[in-house]
């Protein structure tokens, strides 16, 4: 393997702080780059990311020694082919667009209204911790069918799983917290199953139990974990990035609030601009070539959708947040068989409800100090906090 010297300097800290300049350079100079710090070849151009997503027989989701498997077990995210299809089919009913619209939107709206009701009088809040996070958690708990779980439970489980899946430092405390969360979630699922078996409803666990090819209790416990891991941070960060984008671009905000630009465009631009999941892993299972780079079976790949979403070959002025740009083929939801299951839930609950509620009901909403806002992460990315005020 030839190592381009430039990539040896790339540190995980630098990627964490701001990965975009690094990715811009890789797209130009080394689009399938061996990055020692990440232990992977990073695929950074839009066209190559698409090629990987479309070829799961060469680029497998099953990764040897996967931290995710160690943390939360063999969920559908780390399976391919028929095994993956079966699990996905059992879970999919409640998150398809019609079910979302007819059965879940009223619930999501109540959750958002209740949170905003609690905020209005306060006149100030951190939109990440006080709105986006709790809303994502409340919606997810309901959707899964775990009514006894509080939003705080859901958020802490989710964080424990995410930390476990990214525990490259092998920190024993992180493993412990993850194992504790697995146990508590298993108990919550075990508590929910007997009732849902007798009384089917619109939830994901119920769907898994009553599918044409139903899942076993063990499969349900395992796969609920991936919904928890993927169902809080991503909507939280999408809401937060969208809010940050509009709060720092007043002209675009005016356009949106006057109805000239739809909320849908705000949501799609937010997840294009800062993809909540920036990178996900694949493993090469047969020798191949990608963008002129020879890859061998066993090589690890990082599919960098956050870079594909800023590929200058596809998007004009890609680093700019611009809700008026023409709809383009961003890859924030991934692609192929693993295309994000939560796509339609996110579109409906964020573009349809969360963002209009925030900007519609908090008059004069503004950032306390726009320059103080920090985003972090390159595998997952979003603002750490959004301190805001409004006239109460």
């Amino acid at each position: 393997m030839t190592t381009a010297p430039a990539t040896a300097d790339i540190t995980l800290d630098a990627l964490d702080a701001d990965p975009y300049p690094v990715f811009r350079r890789l797209r130009a100079e080394d689009p399938v780059a061996w990055v020692p710090a990440a232990g992977r070849f990073l695929v950074t151009r839009h066209e190559d990311v698409l090629a990987v997503e479309r070829d799961q027989r060469t680029f497998s989701s099953v990764e040897e020694g996967s931290l995710m498997n160690r943390a939360i077990g063999p969920t559908l995210l780390r399976q391919d082919g028929d095994a993956h299809r079966r699990l996905r089919a059992a879970a999919e009913g409640p998150v398809r667009p019609r079910a979302v619209k007819e059965r879940w939107l009223p619930r999501f709206r109540r959750n958002a209204d209740a949170l905003v009701d609690g905020l209005v009088e306060r006149g100030r809040a951190d939109l990440v911790a006080d709105f986006a996070g709790p809303l994502a958690a409340a919606n997810l708990g309901a959707l899964l069918g775990l009514p006894a779980a509080t939003p705080a439970d859901v958020q802490s489980w989710s964080q424990a799983f995410i930390d476990g899946c990214g525990n490259y430092a092998d920190d024993p405390e992180v493993w412990q917290r993850c194992a504790d969360a697995v146990r508590t979630v298993d108990e919550a699922v075990d508590d929910a199953i007997p009732f849902l078996r007798e009384h089917p409803d619109d939830s994901v666990v119920s769907s898994m139990l009553h599918a044409a090819d139903p899942l076993t209790d063990e499969e349900i416990r395992t796969n609920v974990r991936i919904f928890l891991g993927g169902g809080v941070n991503e909507p939280r960060d999408a809401i937060s990035v969208a809010a940050y984008g509009l709060l720092t671009h007043p002209d675009q905000r005016v356009d949106v609030l006057s109805g000239r630009t739809p909320w849908k465009a705000v949501f799609e631009e937010a997840v294009r601009w800062v993809a909540p999941i920036g990178m996900y892993p694949r493993q090469v299972v047969r020798d191949t070539e990608l963008a002129g780079r020879r890859l061998s079976a066993g090589d690890r790949i990082g599919v960098v959708v956050s870079s594909a979403n800023r590929d200058e070959r596809v998007f004009d002025d890609p680093d700019a947040f611009d809700v008026r740009r023409p709809a383009g083929p961003h890859l924030a939801f991934g692609g192929g068989p693993h295309f994000c299951l939560g796509t339609w839930v996110a579109r409906a609950s964020i573009a349809g409800i969360a963002l209009p509620a925030l900007f519609g009901r908090l008059p004069g909403l503004e950032l306390t100090d726009p320059d103080a806002v920090r985003m972090a992460g390159w595998v997952f990315r979003g603002p750490l906090a959004l301190d805001t005020t409004w006239s109460s």
Partner: protein, 105 residues
């Protein structure tokens, strides 16, 4: 092998060999037809493989899943709208022309 022609909104056309038994979407993606992103890989889950078929030869009926997803397509849905991933190529499709819907206006 049947051939299918993909016409873009601007009139550009691409004629593609479409193996019997695969989807119309797959033949488009294999030939890099612009505007068929097919994000979900053919699961009727993304609506980014939307096409208009005006040719009145018999096509399979629209399933419930295809129907709900067509409602989510970004280009306007018409009576001719189909998800190309749900159309399986057969010999009768030889010579079919479909219009790529893309992102819409």
């Amino acid at each position: 092998m049947p051939t299918i022609t993909f016409r873009q909104p601007d009139g550009a056309e691409l004629r593609v060999d479409a193996p019997v038994g695969t989807s119309v979407m797959k033949s488009a993606v294999g030939a890099d037809v612009p505007g068929i992103l097919a994000e979900c890989g053919g699961q009727a889950m993304c609506a980014t493989c939307h096409v208009y078929v005006t040719d009145d030869r018999a096509l399979p009926p629209v399933s419930d899943e295809e129907d709900e997803m067509l409602d989510c397509a970004s280009a306007p849905r018409t009576g001719h709208s189909r998800l190309s991933c749900q159309l399986v190529v057969d010999e009768d499709m030889d010579g079919l022309t479909v219009l790529v819907a893309g992102e819409g206006p």
